[in-house]
Amino acid sequence: MSAAPTAGHAAAQAGFEEAWARLLREGHGAAVHPGTLGRVVSRTIELLGRARDAEPFDPAPAEQAGALLVEAHFTDAAVLARAVELLLGHPAGEHAPKVAGAFASGWTVALRDRTLREQEAIRLAADLARKGAEKALYASEARFRAVFESAAIGIGIGDVNGNILAVNRALQEMFGARPQDMRDLRVPELVHPEDTPGVWEAYDDLVNGRREHFQFDKPYYRRAGGVIWTHLTVSLIRDEEGVPRYQVAMLEDITDRHRLQERLRFQATHDPLTGLPNRAEFFERLERIFDSPEPGARFGLCSVDLDGFKAINDSLGHETGDQLLAAVAERLASTVAPLGHLVARLGGDEFVVLLESCLGHQESVAVAKTVLDALSQPFLIGDQKLAVRASVGVLERPVAATTPGAAMRAADLTLYRAKKEGRGRWTLFDPKRNAVAVSRYAMSVRMPMALDRGEFFIDYQPLCSLRDGSLAAVEALVRWRHPELGVLGPDEFVATAEETGLIIPLGRWVLEQACDQAARWARRFGPGTPKMNVNLAVRQARNAALVSDVDRVLRGTGLDPSGLQLEITESAVLGPRDHALQAMHALVDMGVSLTVDDFGTGWSNLAYLRDLPVSGLKIAGSFISDVHDRPSPHDGGDGELLGWRIVSGLVSLAHTLGLTVTAEGVETAADAERLRAMGCDWAQGWYYGRPTRPEEITRRIAEGLGDPRVRRA
């Protein structure tokens, strides 16, 4: 039907067109250029008009209009709804419903096509993007794999349970293992006895997420045998949630560097002659004990010194001496080191055994005995058989009770005592003696005051006649009642007094006290009074004022000079021209008698006995005590006999020189009897009485011959 449009019709059409244009403009807003939009508006209006006018009805133009809108991006269902509404409301169309229907159908078909097309496009894009990403990932993975495989550094990846998941070629070569060997391993199996302390704690922290990485130098066993040293870095890998997942270990082979370091360290810490740990190493190990000791921890030290090594060195030459030291070191190392103790050479012929942990002094003593035992067999050096003995100072202490320096000093002092008490033996540390020795300095500072404060006192020990047991003399022995150390004997402080020169006032004081006491006894007991023996220290003997001092004291106390005997040591007088010798003569001229003390322990030049104006000698106590435990190869084990023969020889020698002989250290009746039988004059020792207070002596003099042990002639 193509009826000419009426005026009303035209107005209706204009209204529709305006509403249509507004719908489209609002639908897109300003997103599309107004010109473009205008073309869409006029084209659709034209198509819709054609649809409305066509006879018979043809849906194609209306469908085309719908499709055109979709093409112009009108995809909103609200726009469709409003468009259908406008089309249905068009006043001039009996086809209006059909037009609207065709339009909607065209729009829908186009939208579906468009939707499917866009969906396909976006899926294809997503697909491409993923593939691209995968390819990139694969490429980067391949790069990483190449780096991993060909890295010069060993790399291993494991899970947090310690399973080894992957290792690279360098790591396999370092371990000398095939990949399957490595995969059968678990990380915790890679322990090595030389692992740095803390490495496994760090590992534990890492796999449990308590730390992110750690670095250590660590040894590993190689599968083929041997050990490889590595610089190890382990890092933790977490997943997106932060949960620990993997560990990555990187290992650098530092075996050569490590060996060199070890060599240098060995050289720095070992003695080149014997191969034993040296002084530096010993002190480091000693100090380590004190680092953070367990409560109640104890340790032991055996300070070992060869007896008479200097003589061997001097007589047989340094080379032999060195060979001997090396042989000694080897014996010590092979007997003591297996017990788990450190044997070190401190220098010269000084060795030390360190018991880094110790259960008690028995264990240290056992080690000392092992040492002495080990050295008891002679050494074969070249074609010479050399016998050496050693002295051992044994110290065993709670770690908390001392310091490394103090422990070392104490061990040395103990060794010194062992040597002094006779060689070839061990001596156990004695805290009291040690305290004395250690406080020597304090002593010397305190000693002058001590004299003023009356801290010294004198005990007297009997010297008895072997003939009838009567009290022939007493020896004055000075004591120091030390406020901290208790009562000290002369052997504990006289050396210090001598070193510091205090021996002069102290000696004078002792002389005064002893003479005063003797004078009082003489006044009370008359001729039966025992003589008073007073020791003269070396320094006193050489003191220019000695003679005048003695003279003044004798006058002061009123003691008859014949009641005083001065005991001097062999070393007090060096030779005939000695100034001291003149003093001795002056004393004897005064009427005082002289006795040689400790005869046989020093350098005994019998000739000088002739020149000295002495009237007696005292055989050192060690001769008598040694008699009993002196081994003798000649006498079928009866060394005792030989011992007595020596004593007997000394007695007759003394008698030849017209000297009175006193035996010291007499402890039994049998010894006393034997000495009496061989003609010894006097005896001193525990059998006859220990040093005691003057009152006790007074009592014994008073009792006269009442002593039960005194034999009557």
Binding site: R25, H28, G29, A30, A31, V32, H33, P34, H73, T75, D76, R114, T115, E118, Q119, A121, I122, L124, A125, A126, D127, L128, A129, R130, G132, A133, L137, E240
Partner: protein, 268 residues
């Protein structure tokens, strides 16, 4: 430390993605269920969103036209997304048939899609890059080539800077781009803002906060500062519909409801 991205962002169809959600708002079908779900929620909360997006698209079109009409033939569209309709090269070439465009997006799917569309187009390139690393972006051969001639380049940062958080320094990013732009170049910029609809800003940001690309709305002052060093073209920084509308009535009675702010600046 950045974690390795084992699944490239954007290829995961389970997570809503900015480019595809935006396509949704514009009535496109370049999207997946998760994107549509997100768009539906957003529109429920804020029914005007599709209109705002169209207004943004309108601004983009007018700005490109404006510059093309003034002789610009080089365009760098950063954060180009999935141009459902009115892509920069189409709009520009209607005026400058030889116009060259480089599209940049961080989203690999958007990039792949653009590549499908532009396959065989010698004067268009698509690259995948992150504008938060502007120096790397500028070093891309396609971008470097576009800038190398020294001719003015129109750099588009349309509806993208609000995906850059304050601590990622949006001002600094723009400065780096500016320093690389030849004299006479232009910056086309639009940005989500809470100025027009403070009531909507919060919930809308919250919705994006749950996506891998949180949204930071900014004030007019902030947006003006992004133009530091540029000379703003009339009318300056305005609401999206207000920027040089072709027909006064298209601005509508409430331009502030189209909450984006937009502007174009030129380098002298």
């Amino acid at each position: 430390m950045k974690r390795p991205r084992w699944i490239p962002e954007g290829t995961d169809q389970e997570t809503p993605n900015v480019a595809r959600v935006y396509d949704c708002y514009l009535g496109g079908s370049h999207n997946f269920a998760a994107d549509r779900e997100m768009a539906r929620k957003a529109v429920e909360l804020w029914p005007e969103l599709p209109k705002i997006m169209r207004a943004n698209r309108g601004f983009l079109r007018r700005a490109v036209q404006y510059l093309a009409e003034r002789g610009f033939t080089r365009f760098l569209d950063i954060g180009s997304g999935i141009p459902t309709f009115g892509a920069v090269h189409e709009v520009a070439r209607r005026i400058q048939p030889d116009a060259r465009v480089v599209y940049v997006d961080i989203d690999p799917v958007a990039v792949a899609h653009s590549r499908l569309i532009l396959e065989g187009d010698e004067r268009a390139a698509v690259i995948e890059a992150d504008m938060r690393e502007p120096r790397a972006l500028l070093a891309d051969p396609a971008v470097a080539d576009l800038l190398a001639a020294g001719e003015p380049v129109a750099v588009l940062l349309v509806a993208v800077l609000h995906f850059v958080r304050d601590e990622e320094d949006p001002v600094g990013i723009v400065r780096v781009l500016r320093d690389a732009m030849p004299p006479g170049s232009a910056l086309v910029l639009s940005h989500a803002s809470f100025e027009g609809r403070p009531d909507q800003a919060g919930p809308h940001q919250d919705l994006y906060a749950r996506t891998p690309t949180p949204l930071t709305m900014r004030s007019r002052e902030d947006v003006v500062r992004l133009f530091d060093g540029f000379e703003l073209i009339e009318p300056g920084v305005v609401y999206l519909p207000e920027w040089r509308p072709e027909r006064p009535e298209s601005v509508g009675p409430h331009p502030e409801r189209m909450t984006g702010l937009a502007g174009v600046g030129r380098l002298s």
